[in-house]
């Protein structure tokens, strides 16, 4: 079971009437994007995307509007056909599926949540949530039971018979999440699910969603334009710019070691307190001139926030340990520099 839940290899998406011609020109002659637009009138939406998402992982794709992140995620349930490249979901090559098999994969294995909820206004909340089951031909009694159960998961008991319009934006999006969970899919695709909500509701939903996904053990691809959100929710983050994946890594890797200026600019405003860990900023024990007089101790995975707490209570540097053995120290000066991010 070590195979990844979702695997993209060399996925390109070129939009335009002459996409195939442009694609082969790009591959054989190394045509640039501007040239593709000029010569073929084609826009490159996604450029050579390759990554793997492990089972149970939450993988965030972060980018500004127009960076191709929504296009990219729509490849994973083939709402958009790739111009070239291969997409494997749960070990099956999506491109090789027949239309019926594709519908089956969509209904059973992949759930999707949309930025603008996209609930059916003429159906009750319950029937909206039950829709993936209805498509599969699950009998009504069964799908109503599943639907009610799923609505309970997102704390929407008592709203089953309402119409979506009667609910607030945050509640509607919880219905959207319930719908995505209804057929108990292995993979969740979240297309900027919380972007249209106001900040407080967004924070609340982020936490609820994170807890829920961890509990249910879903593989999640989460699209966002908000780096804070990506850091809160994602195990790993991919940063996209103009259709290209610029960097993939954990939040800490991206914040402490941005791949280029574009990413650096993004991470500048990010609070490092809960991200950066002791092993990133610690200095070798030898660098301390005097003996270590029993200063506070912390594990190397402790975050800066915790180190500050320890450091405030003592004049001595904090001793960083790995499995009990001291491996480095963090002085007040190192700590301040670490928070600043000027020196990793």
């Amino acid at each position: 079971m070590s195979e990844p839940a979702v695997k993209l290899s060399g996925v390109w998406k070129v939009f335009g009437g002459r996409a195939q011609e442009a694609m082969s020109a790009i591959q054989s002659d190394g045509l640039s994007k501007a040239e593709a637009l000029e010569r073929y009138g084609c826009v490159v939406g996604v450029q050579d995307a390759s990554f793997e998402v492990a089972r149970g992982e939450t993988f965030c794709i972060m980018g500004l509007s127009g960076s191709g992140k929504s296009t990219l995620v729509r490849h994973i349930n083939r709402l958009i056909e790739p111009t070239t490249g291969r997409i494997d979901v749960l070990g099956r090559d999506l491109g090789a599926l027949s239309p019926a098999a594709l519908r089956e994969v969509r209904a059973r294995h992949i759930g999707m949540v949309f930025q603008h909820m996209a609930l059916m206004p003429h159906r009750s909340v319950r029937d909206n949530v039950a829709y993936p089951l209805e498509v599969r031909g699950v009998p009504k009694s069964r799908r109503w039971a599943v639907s009610d159960h799923t609505l309970k998961l997102v704390n929407l008991e008592g709203f089953e018979d309402r119409l979506p319009d009667e609910l607030s934006g945050g509640m509607q999006q919880r219905v959207g999440i319930a719908r995505a969970l209804a057929s108990d899919p292995e993979v969740l695709l979240m297309d900027e699910p919380f972007s249209a909500l106001d900040p407080l509701i967004r924070l609340q939903l982020q936490d609820q969603f994170k807890a829920l996904v961890e509990r249910l053990g879903k593989t999640t691809l989460f699209i966002t334009h908000d780096l804070d959100e990506a850091i809160r929710i994602g195990h790993r983050i991919a940063i996209m710019k103009d259709g290209v994946i610029v960097q993939i890594g954990t939040a800490e890797e991206i914040v402490t070691n941005p791949a280029d200026d574009y990413v650096r600019e993004f991470v500048q405003g990010i609070s490092r307190l809960k991200l950066v860990r002791a092993h990133t900023i610690m200095e070798p024990i030898e660098s301390h001139p005097g003996p270590l007089n029993g200063g506070p101790r912390a594990d190397e995975s402790a975050d800066l926030d915790h180190l500050i707490d320890l450091s405030v209570g003592s004049e001595e540097p904090v001793i960083i340990t790995d499995g009990g053995a001291p491996v480095g120290i963090v002085t007040k000066a190192t700590l301040l520099r670490g928070i600043q991010g000027g020196r990793a």
Binding site: F114, A118, M120, H122, V135
Partner: protein, 529 residues
């Protein structure tokens, strides 16, 4: 404070920006603006730069500038500069002035009256001759003499009128000259203002707004002026212009040949497709007969009760009471049978419109290309006057109720097609995408998402179609359709005001009852949703 930042848009942004503290300190960048105006005007750039400045500096009121070229050349200047509205406006006004001048200078102003005087004198001489003949025959010539006398006097008056008109020629000439002078003045004064507005428009869309002095424009302006002005002035100033100027030299043979050819074609088509046409007529008749049997075959108390209950259930008590009153009016005037025939006719047409129209609308809503092909046909169906297609319908399908239904369908079908297509296209893409993402097939997508969400629009289309069909009942009586339309047609033929009015009110009541019931039903469907 008077400093208006005219050149703000053209000023290089980075340099000046930081030093300026307030809007009142912003300097007008003359150079950039001048360059832009010169670029726009082409030749004579410096002149237009200075006049546009004068216009731009004006804080209020109308800035006074005089464009000599525009005053002198008038429409030709406008054409050369590509100011076409100015060209057409002043070309027409100048032609009016020139017509006045022409009438005054060489027009034969009293000619009408003189000709009349001559005719009157001729008649008078005739009467005098008659009088002589009568005298020779020994009869009383007095009657002829008085008439000749009267005519002579009339001829004298006509001659006086002709002299007066000729005397007016000078006044007309002067009016024309005055008008021309005023026009030149106005053109000179407004040309720069108009041209400045064109410059503003050019800055927004330089590729669409004409700029500069183009030789093609000059030639086009001269050609248009030559094509329009001389002939117009000739036609209005010469007393009896050439016959070619007043009537188009049409050859009546073309018309006869084409009409005869069309007629044989239609006859051949009617004979060739007779089997088809009979099948269609048969199908229409069977639908009609079923409906008619239900409405006219069932005892009238039953039909009335059912209609009232339907009105009550779908639209509430008020509409039910109105329906009962309308039916009482129809029944008491003895229109019951005829009104039911009308309802059956309209009902048959509407049923076919809906059965054919909604699938077509769904198709057109999904396929932009199909809709582009269908749209002109739909336009034709709605705008072609009914009388035009009544004739071929008679040729193909004969007369009576079934061809009437067919004509009604042609007129009534477009709204339901159009509004269904509109509704289909209005379904939010995101909801369609969501349904697809959860594994819906195309058929499921259609039945679960697209049709339900397009339903309000489709319902509006159905209602429109019903009303359009009702409006055809009088017209189809022309080709033998029965029902209330026939009552109106007969009343029209005998100019019978009373029966016509009573029948008209009956049709109106039918339309109102159906409209209220249908709308009520749709509203209820909307609420349930």
């Amino acid at each position: 404070m008077t400093d208006i930042p005219l050149g703000a848009g053209t000023a290089p942004p980075a340099e000046a920006a930081p030093q300026v503290a307030a809007a009142s300190e912003v300097e007008v960048d003359r150079r950039a603006l001048d360059a832009s105006i010169a670029d726009f005007a082409g030749s004579n750039g410096a002149y237009y730069a200075s006049t546009f400045h004068r216009i731009h500096e004006a804080a209020g009121g109308v800035p006074l500038t005089f464009n000599g070229a525009a005053a002198l050349l008038g429409p030709i200047w406008a054409a050369a500069r590509g100011v076409w509205s100015f060209f057409w406006g002043f070309l027409l006004l100048e032609i009016i002035a020139w017509v006045q001048i022409g009438r005054g200078a060489w027009g034969d102003l009293g000619a009408d009256d003189l000709a009349q005087a001559d005719r009157q004198a001729d008649r008078a001489n005739q009467f005098l001759a008659d009088a002589d003949a009568a005298r020779a025959a020994g009869e009383d010539p007095a009657r002829f003499e008085t008439m000749a006398d009267n005519l002579m006097r009339a001829a004298e008056r006509s001659r006086e009128a002709a002299d007066a008109a000729a005397a007016d020629a000078l006044a007309i000439l002067l009016t024309g000259l005055g008008l021309l002078l005023v026009l030149k003045l106005v053109q000179g004064l407004t040309a720069n203002l108009v041209y400045e507005r064109q410059y503003s428009a050019w800055r927004i869309a330089p590729e669409r707004v004409p700029s500069g002095l183009r030789r093609t424009n000059v030639l086009l302006g001269i050609a248009l002026t030559l094509a329009i002005a001389p002939l117009t002035i000739y036609k209005f100033t010469v007393e009896s212009p050439l016959i070619e100027m007043t009537t188009f030299p049409a050859d009546p043979d073309h018309y006869t040949l084409l009409a005869r050819w069309l007629e044989t074609q239609i006859d051949a088509a009617a004979a060739g497709g007779a089997g088809w046409f009979d099948t269609i007529v048969g199908a229409l008749r069977s639908i009609l007969n079923t409906l008619a049997l239900a409405l006219m075959g069932a005892p009238w108390p039953v039909v009335m009760t059912v209609i009232c209950v339907v009105a009550w259930r779908s639209a509430g008590p008020r509409v039910a009471i109105f329906t009962a009153a309308a039916m009482a009016y129809i029944a008491f005037l003895g229109y019951w049978e005829i009104a039911m025939e009308t309802v059956a006719l309209v009902g048959a047409a509407v049923i076919i419109c809906v059965i054919v129209g909604i699938p077509l609308g769904i198709w057109f809503g999904k396929s932009q290309r199909a809709y582009r092909f269908a749209e002109p046909v739909l336009d034709l169906m709605q705008t072609l006057p009914a009388f035009v297609y009544l004739i071929p319908i008679i040729a193909f399908f004969g007369t009576g109720n079934p061809p009437g239904i067919l004509a009604t369908i042609i007129f009534g079908m477009p709204p339901v097609i159009r509004l269904t297509a509109l509704g289909m296209r209005g379904v939010p893409k995101s909801i369609k995408e969501a349904a697809t993402a959860f594994g819906a097939s195309r058929w499921k997508l259609l039945t679960d998402v697209e049709v339900p969400l397009a339903l309000p629009s489709i319902m509006t289309g159905v209602n429109q179609t019903i009303l359009m069909c009702l409006s055809m009942v009088v017209i189809i009586s022309l080709i033998g359709g029965g029902g209330l339309g026939k009552v109106i047609l007969e009343a029209l033929q005998y100019a019978a005001k009373g029966p016509g009015l009573l029948g008209g009110v009956a049709i109106l009541l039918c339309a109102m009852v159906i409209d209220r019931i249908v709308q009520g039903a749709f509203r209820r469907a909307d609420h349930k949703k």
